[in-house]
């Protein structure tokens, strides 16, 4: 019942407000009239009676306001009023409004852009079935510097011994060639154990995926990616069931994956996001125990936590160590890494750092707007005093101020979304590969929700501070003062604190950006062990040749390449540096070490042609390069890098020593002893910033792998040669295709892209922070000066010179800056500890970076103080005296 009545009241309140107000007024007037009547009856004159009644009544307007507040819907009404009032107030000072909105929109926009990336990369669940159950299982060996894939037999052990996994599968991505009537085409192939695709739980667009109950494939079947299906087979809807000539066999297409299907694996797994074909492994259990090629995907049973799965894998590893001497010698361990986290492990820290940086920028924006509002609030003290004299309660005034903040923030939020959208486009244009992988980086509901929350938080942050400050002021005093005031010390205190905080944040940002920019520069200075300029690279898949034909073809092809006009030299290698082709790294044994002592030694293995080092520009440190004498069936020789030479034979010359390394021979993949004939400088195969492990080079003729990349040193722009090379290849062999044709500089760019991305963004943030800090200091100092012009005039009248006044004002600004600087150094020291993994080639407390920041920040402050100082110095003593 009560509810119904109240609803009725609300209805009346919404639509018959005029009438309600008139009635209230009539009623109060009547009450007043009766009071007056009563006083007249007691013998007072009309005037005296009215006065007495007014005193007794305590103000009609105040009573009305109190009645309005108990009305149903009063909150709603006064909020609407506040919003209208806020809009009016903001319109009245367009300059303030524009600056405040722009500042906030900038902060919100930056956060919007970064959060779009953070959400897409770090937070959004992987597009698989129950992605939280998926994990990668990595192996660890005693002396390996990083985690490793596993071998076929070990994968079998995991599969059969685990108790908490629903399924386990292995993947290894390599190349293979489609042959047949259409153009031969080399594609990336994911070789997988059959359960792999069903483990991810993605439904194929057409047909089916490999049967998960099979441990290995018995017949050649393949699943196509959507892209390859469209491109090579014209989207043929009846492709399923057809046979296609593939990698020397005739394979049946059993399915096509959906368009948006991607593989989300960490970079060190060498599993790219897009592959053309999925092809199942045959029996993997009889592969060498030491061939670590399988990246292991596992799905945990429902409800199993990562800790439980880890414990399960620990026990599997323990059983394997107990059961096999080689696992015991390697002290095999296993690590369960949740797939979602693992896929982004390399970019996580950088993104979080950037996100924090964006947060700092927003805080600085809020500080500036809070300062603006504080200044405004003290200009509006009179207005607010009038409002409270007219019956506005304190909470009402506070709410009014807060609503003004909210209105500002809503507008700024909307503008911020626009700025964010634009800057996101810009971000994506300098995107590193890991962003390119993400198909849906952009505005979506979670991102918009984030922006809304951020805007709201910003409003609370800067809206309340001036509010509390204002409400504390007393009504009578303010009204009496009539506006000619200098600042109260308390208000100056708040604003000074805000500025100090701003400088602190700005300093931390500048340090962060400085460290990233220096890191970027350092990485560019790295000598990667080859000369990337004027170097063209491409791949060939030689799987169709028998080993002897392959050797003959490569020899002839290398000679043809080298004799092309514009080519200086040419050479081939099984694995180009910085490529995402799955690495070949295997055990080796230097002469003099027992088998068990050498069991844990791993090195990158590469098969190369004689021209390779020369065309790469790799320096020979000792001995010789391979040449025409290093033939198939001839004396077995190898070249090693200085890193391996030093660790295998410290203090001795490596040349002439024997080493056992893995070879691909007609008898399969077997270890073979060879003599070291040369030592070359280390080539950074995996990362510009790290030397990972030693390298062993074997003549291509002595280990004729099916897949070869070529490096061609050119006298001209590398890409200008592509057509000539393509024609030449067609003349040599119509069935072969060039793929991945790129200048070597492209690999360098891709390797530096993440650092460049971080450095550019950090630089932008630091620049914004500097600008905002300068504007903030300008705002505070110039406001304080504008209130103190009178004082300045008096000072000058009493004999202060213009430079004294400038010094005074500058001193005020610089004192704030100095306090901020001290706090900033402390903050930066804390922050740089977390940046450790992002930094390369410099110390986290890099003196140059700190020196620059310590110079740059006060410069910004001086810039900010300059105008107010010169304005203060221009104060006219006569004006000051005349104003008295």
């Amino acid at each position: 019942m009560v509810l119904l009545r109240r609803a009725k009241s609300f209805w009346r309140f919404l639509f018959r407000k005029q009438k309600l107000e008139a009635e209230l007024d009539r009623e109060l007037q009547a009450y007043m009239a009766m009071l007056v009547d009563r006083h007249i009856a007691r013998g007072l004159s009309i005037e005296e009676a009215k006065r007495a009644a007014r005193l007794e009544f305590e103000g009609i307007e105040q009573v009305k306001e109190q009645v309005r507040e108990v009305r149903v819907g009063a909150n709603f009404d006064s909020s609407m009023q506040d919003i209208r009032y806020a809009c009016r107030a903001l319109r009245k000072s367009p300059a303030f409004t524009a600056i405040a909105i722009l500042t906030l929109a900038l902060g919100i926009g930056v956060n919007n852009a970064i959060f779009s990336v953070v959400y897409a990369v770090l937070l959004r669940p992987l597009p698989y079935d129950h992605p939280e159950q998926l994990a990668l299982v990595w192996s660890g060996f005693k002396s390996a510097t990083s985690r490793a894939p596993t071998s076929g037999p070990a994968l079998g052990e995991i599969l059969h011994r685990n108790r908490l996994l629903q399924g386990v599968a292995g993947i290894w991505v390599g190349n293979a060639t489609f042959t047949g009537d259409v153009n031969p085409e080399q594609v990336k192939v994911a070789f997988v154990t059959p359960p792999f695709l069903s483990l991810l739980g993605v439904r194929p667009l057409l047909g089916r995926v490999f049967s998960p109950s099979q441990e290995f494939a018995t017949k050649p079947e393949l699943v196509l990616s959507y892209g390859l299906w469209q491109r090579r087979f014209g989207g043929d809807p009846s492709i399923v069931g057809k046979g296609v000539p593939f990698s020397g066999t005739n394979a049946t297409v059993i399915g096509v994956m959906p368009q948006d299907f991607q593989l989300h694996f960490p970079p060190d797994s060498n599993v790219p996001s897009e592959v053309g074909v999925f092809f199942p492994f045959g029996n993997i259990y009889n592969r060498p125990r030491t061939l670590y090629m399988f990246r292991v995907l596992a799905r945990l049973k429902p409800g199993v936590t990562q800790e439980q799965a880890q414990a399960d894998m620990n026990s599997v590893a323990a059983q394997m160590r107990a059961g096999y001497t080689e696992f015991a010698a390697e002290n095999l361990t296993m690590e369960v890494a949740p797939m979602q986290r693992d896929a982004v492990r390399d970019v996580r820290t950088a993104l979080i750092a950037l996100f924090a940086g964006a947060g700092f920028v927003l805080l600085i924006c809020c500080v500036n707007v809070a300062n603006l509002l504080l200044a405004r609030a003290s200009d509006r003290r009179k207005e607010i005093a009038v409002r409270s004299a007219l019956g506005a309660t304190q909470s009402r005034i506070l709410r009014q101020l807060l609503i003004e903040g909210l209105v500002l923030c809503s507008i700024a939020g909307a503008v911020g979304v626009a700025i964010g959208w634009i800057s996101l486009r810009a971000l994506l244009s300098i995107r590193p590969d890991y962003l390119a992988r993400m198909p849906h980086v952009g505005l979506n509901w979670p991102v918009l929700a984030f922006v809304a929350v951020v805007s709201l938080a910003a409003a609370l942050l800067f809206g309340l501070a001036p509010g509390i400050e204002t409400v504390k002021s007393d009504v009578i005093g303010t009204l009496r003062e009539a506006g000619r005031t200098s600042q109260t010390p308390a208000r100056r205190g708040i604003r000074a604190t805000l500025i100090v905080g701003e400088v602190t944040l700005g300093f931390v940002l500048v340090i962060g950006a400085g460290l990233m920019i220096r890191t970027f520069a350092k990485i560019h200075e790295v000598q990667p062990g080859f000369e990337a300029q004027h170097l063209l690279t491409f791949e060939l898949d030689l799987g169709k040749f028998r080993p002897n034909d392959r050797i003959n073809f490569v020899n002839e092809w290398e000679a043809r390449l080298a004799s092309l006009p514009g080519v200086e030299s040419a050479g081939g290698v099984s694995h180009l540096p910085l490529d995402d082709y799955p690495n070949w790294y295997s055990p080796y044994r230097p002469e003099g070490l027992s088998e068990s002592d050498a069991a844990t030694l791993l090195a990158d293995h590469r098969a190369i042609t004689p021209g390779y080092f020369r065309s790469m520009g790799t320096k020979l440190l000792e001995g010789r390069f391979f040449d025409a004498q290093d033939r198939a069936g001839g004396r077995q020789v190898v070249i090693v890098d200085d890193m391996l030479a030093r660790s295998a034979w410290p203090g001795q010359s490596a040349v002439g020593k024997k080493i056992e390394a893995e070879h691909f021979t007609s008898k399969g993949i077997v270890p073979v002893w060879g003599e070291v004939v040369g030592v070359v400088e280390h080539i950074r195969n995996h990362s510009l910033s790290r030397k990972l492990r030693g390298e062993i080079y074997i003549p291509f003729e002595q280990t004729p792998r099916e897949h070869l990349s070529f490096a061609v040193r050119t006298r001209m722009e590398p890409l200008a040669l592509v057509e000539a090379i393509r024609r030449e290849l067609h003349k040599s062999d119509k069935d072969l295709a060039l793929s991945k044709v790129r200048p070597m500089t492209n690999y360098i760019e891709r390797a530096t892209a993440p650092v460049r991305f971080t450095a550019v963004l950090a630089g932008i943030f630091a620049g914004l922070a500097l600008l905002l800090a300068a504007v903030g200091i300008y705002g505070v100092v110039s406001y304080s000066i504008s209130r103190r012009m009178h004082e300045m005039g008096v000072r000058m009248a009493l004999g202060a010179s213009a430079s004294d006044v400038v010094r005074l004002v500058m001193g005020e600004g610089l004192l704030l800056t100095a306090s901020g600087l001290v706090l900033g150094v402390a903050g930066a020291l804390i922050v740089s500890r977390y940046m450790h993994s992002l930094i390369y080639g410099i110390s986290a407390i890099d003196p140059i970076t700190y020196a620059v920041a310590i110079i740059v920040i006060p410069s910004a402050a001086i810039l900010g103080c300059w105008r107010p100082a010169s304005k203060a110095a221009s104060a006219n003593p006569v004006d000051a005296i005349r104003a008295e």
Binding site: M1, V2, R5, R6, S9, E23, L24, R26, E27, L28, A30, Y31, A33, M34, L35, D37, E56, F57, E58, Q62, V63, Q66, V67, E69, V70, R71, V72
Partner: protein, 110 residues
């Protein structure tokens, strides 16, 4: 002036409802009546009276109607509704319970 204009909101509601139990009355009448009956302990000023009246009216416990006062002035007369009567009963019981509880607390232990 009066000793106490600080009346608890609930108490003021009770006083107004009780006063209107005697018959329709306008604002000034109500405040006069309360002052008179409580012998000046409670003076209800317009600033608390009118919000209370509006609150009670919104709850449907009293309703207002325009009429003529003793000396021929237009005034809004409030009267108790059925729901208001029920509410008054409830509040009276409530008050007595609280009153005796507090009294028990204040009595010296015997």
């Amino acid at each position: 002036m009066a000793q106490s204009s600080e009346i608890l909101q609930g108490t003021l509601d009770l006083l107004v409802l009780r006063t209107l139990e005697l018959g329709p009355m306008h604002g000034l009448g109500i405040s006069d009546r309360i002052k008179q009956v409580t012998q000046g302990v409670f003076t209800v000023k317009p600033g608390s009276l009118f919000p209370a009246l509006y609150r009670l009216e919104q709850n449907g416990w009293i309703e207002g109607e325009w009429g003529e006062s003793e000396n021929n002035r237009k005034a809004k007369f409030y009267s108790l509704t059925r729901a208001g009567r029920a509410q008054l009963g409830k509040e009276k019981r409530n008050w007595q319970r609280q009153f005796s509880a507090v009294n028990r607390l204040l009595e010296p232990e015997s």
